[in-house]
Symmetry: C2
Amino acid sequence: MQPSHQFDSKLDLSLTRIVDVPRHLVWRAWTEPELLKPWFCPLPWKTVDCEIDLRPGGLFRTTMQSPEGIEFPNVGCYLEVLPDLKLVWTNALLPGYRPSPLTMTCGDENAEFMFTAMIELADHGQGTRYTATVIHADEAGCNKHAAMGFEGGWATALDQLVAMVKRRF
Amino acid sequence: MQPSHQFDSKLDLSLTRIVDVPRHLVWRAWTEPELLKPWFCPLPWKTVDCEIDLRPGGLFRTTMQSPEGIEFPNVGCYLEVLPDLKLVWTNALLPGYRPSPLTMTCGDENAEFMFTAMIELADHGQGTRYTATVIHADEAGCNKHAAMGFEGGWATALDQLVAMVKRRF
């Protein structure tokens, strides 16, 4: 494995939790569309579509739906795929590593900000040590993500993931 | 190897050449700072500094110097490193996959544009089939790169690479 990410508290956000489901099922919940959709958005938001091409340079696409029924598509590119261990993707690139034209948007406070996300999994007893790290370009993006409720949102989604794994397996 | 890049003539630029030096020496010229600096910029520009951390997520940094002595630093991140075969990096990410804050620059016609570059090498007789592909976010970036003289510049640099390899090895 690569050396672990050097965390920068001004630019990065992270969530570490111990969950009582095995690592390979957490991995599957992150990498199979039908296992991702049930948990990926904190309810009452939903993930109504998902497409995964699980390789470096491959597509990671989700469509989130607000309680009012408005759809929000997200497109990213996988960077590292180490099964059951580490998954890295970014929305700064489209599939095939093409820089995202979103990077050209500017002067718009609602413009989507760029980030790279890293999910790392390790054994912890019968369960899993789960670490999610989100890496931003600058403090503004990091602060915006924190204000949007990163920690609560990702923790709730993880709770939903664990509940789904326990229900299905 | 990954499926090869799907070339988009509106967004991408490429250069393919057969060169009469072996593949592994072309690879070394691209991946060892002391072997990169002599050829990387078309003369009379120079590459006065170079730092390479050759792994996915690792740093690729060069400093170019104009004939007037002005220095232009460039920082990118490696994405794929397949020795003697394929090298991919982007300036849309900093090392560790952090989105580049340059993506926030806007309204500035001289703002650096984002690209991903891919060098692919294959045997061709005693020599090498060399393909460089540069992948842009949008037509504006692609057109700007073409107008800057991508094809002539990259071809001249490749000539310098070949001459250096023949001189040194």
